[in-house]
Amino acid sequence: MNFKAFIKKYTMVIALVVVFIFFSFLTGGKNLMAQNISNLVLQNAYVLVMACGMLLCILTGGNVDLSVGSTLCLSAALSAKILSLGAPAPVAIIASLGVGALIGVWQGYLIGYVHIPPFICTLGGMFLFRGFARVILDSRTISVSNDGFLKIFTSYITIPGLDTQNNCVSALILGIIVAILVVLITILRRASQKKNGYDVAPALGTYLRTGIIAILIVAYSFKLMQYKGIPVMLIWILLVVLIFAFLTSSTVFGRYFYAVGGNEKATKLSGIDPRKVYFRAYFWMSFLAAFSGLLMASRIGSVDGNMGNSFEMDAIASCFIGGASAYGGSGTVPGIMIGALLLGVINQGMSIFGLSDMWQYVVKGGVLLAAVVFDVVSNHKTGKS
């Protein structure tokens, strides 16, 4: 790979690194503190999870789901209400996810089978579900204090005897194990590819990349060790992200999203039903939005009628910054995770630095535009249109 191709492939990763270093200088290294590193992912939990679903919608042809902020609020409100009535945590969780699935079926059906334009359908949903959420909340704020519920989402993994508040050795141990596993899997996969006579990527690049990833995992777990240990929410997020990364890259289920977004007519004539593909995109989107509602309710500890306002835009922005095409048919989960983290790092950096909310909007908008313009221009130059 030559220098140009390298830059093009890893543009957003490089941007993320540069922005991170920039804020380290600006904040005097405060964003490197263990607590801030640990919170970076947790603060952006909803973006990371919902971006996975939004990617599916965008893949089908640049369509978005505007209703997810409201769906998130409805799910959170429902859980908060049920918990406040004294029901146990599993009941609330199942009810919220059930409502998410129901919304998914509803919107997936309208968009896939009745051919309602996604923009309009989900715009309707945006009003509708926020309305329902406020009805449930009766326009008040309900606090979430069920211990069981909080434990499932917001606790930290600690092993008594081994871990203390600021020295959770278990986090580091787990991090090292994961890093070793990553390296091992890479080596084994390469070996098996070679044995079967398939083309393998150049050794140096592969091992360099794997090495860097392993080091980052260890470094991250080291920071987690210094602040309470591994958050359970991190595991939930990783679970969702890994599942969707796998689905989109390695399954027929995922391949169909790329096909429909690339050319719906050709896809249909190849024996694939585009209606099903649309249905699945909006179903999983709503389901993930409901799941994010649970994460948010537990993290904030209370739910009000404005929760999740404009969250859909964060998810959409992450996808586009992360390289998803506004016309559909291209984009990857790792890519949009980088996009989401980039937004997260900028937000957090500015907060620590003390910039006010209004400037954060300006910067967010600028980054989104810059990323998309860069993408379009660089594709134009290489002859893809």
Binding site: Y198, T251, A266
Partner: protein, 515 residues
Amino acid sequence: MADYILEMKNITKLYPGVKALDDVNLQVERGEIHALVGENGAGKSTLMNVLSGTIPFGEYTGDIIYNGEKCTFNNIHDSENKGIVIIHQELALIPELTIAENMFLGNERKNSIGKIDWARTYSEAQTQMQRVGLKEKSNVLIKDIGTGKQQLVEIAKALSKSVKLLILDEPTSSLNEEDSKMLLDMLLGFKKEGLTSIIITHKLNEVAYCADNITVLRDGATIETISNADHNIDEERIIKGMVGRELTNRFPSREHNVGNEVLFEAKNWTVYHPVYTEKCVDKNVSFKVHKGEIVGFSGLQGAGRTELAMSLFGRSYGSHISGQEFINGKEVHLKNEHDAIEHGLAYATEDRKVNGLVLSDSIAWNTTMAKMDKVSNKRGIINVAEENKAAEEYVKAMKTKTPSIQQAVGNLSGGNQQKVLLSKWMFAEPDVLILDEPTRGIDVGAKYEIYCIMNDMVAQGKAVVMISSELPELLGMCDRIYVMNEGEMVGEFTKEEATQEKIMSAILASDKQHQ
């Protein structure tokens, strides 16, 4: 010395890594029709882009001398101002606007305060339309007229710009023989009025028919300019220049092993238009396809052949479909495209870019698309290594020219795209392969290879249905030819019986009956 309206001298155009044009020379005499021929990727379109200013001055080297003066066009407006107008293969018309609006797009007829003068627009449009023999109202929407008429609109649009040098890129690629001839005759008429034209085409019979001089390009270089003053040049002579070797036979030979077994059959198949549901597009059509047979479907545009094929392919077209469909002797009721594929049918569409391929996806992804379960396990997890291996095999078997199977299909030339489309359907392992205009817009070499692939299919005991508007290839390839007109079956000829005249007269006879 001849009077040249245009001389392009030593034109060289470099793209990163490729020399698209290498010291190309082109001389066009005033008032002639000049044909530019060459295989796909020979540099014809690039050369015309240089001439029209789409590739601006400075990005190429060499001189353009037009009407005796050296020109430096920076964009398409510069060349249009001088009277050079190019009509691209993919028509640049806006479906939702009227003929007149399209004709004066970017060149609107306005009054002194900038308001569009509609009366003048429509009447001037009507005048231009008369010149090209287009019998329509100028306020009809483009989407409501056929491709042939749209082509005429483009030409009328060029005439409205007081064109002196008209460039047509594959003007007849989507027209049937009758419409093509009309278009060429019109060009000959304009020639008499003094218009110079450059025509890029793959159809060599058209070149022989209308061109005065023929310039052959190959691999970005001028090979030769052949004079065709008496309009009866041997097509083989042109092919020799294009491919750099003699193609002794344009159609590969094969053993005709047609079995008695009927593989695919339709009885009294009737289809109505999906939107205008009272319009019948196919009426009581019956036909049979045997094992090991290549069956051709001939007819003019609008004969209902594509509609027939698509409605049989899992009802992907039409409404109120009735009739019986048999595969391997068993009657089937195909619910959708997937069902059709599972029953061993495949349909390769006539419009590979719009309906056939996912241009933004790789060759590998496109190849396996119609039969993903061959490269995935029961749980739907794709075996990427196996998928790539399969794609590699098909690239090799089809001789698809590409740097890698990860290449996006949109970056390939037309002929290679067609090969990927065929790969996709071969990968699905059909018993009956329906090919709709399989060689449209691709060069002689690639055509030959596609004919070979068809022969391989039938040699394996499968069957091929070939829909084509080019009679020579139907006559050259098929064991049997059905002739359709206006949604009805009007003739059937064996290989031995069939001639161009018989097929055309079958169509004409049925036309008379309709009147």
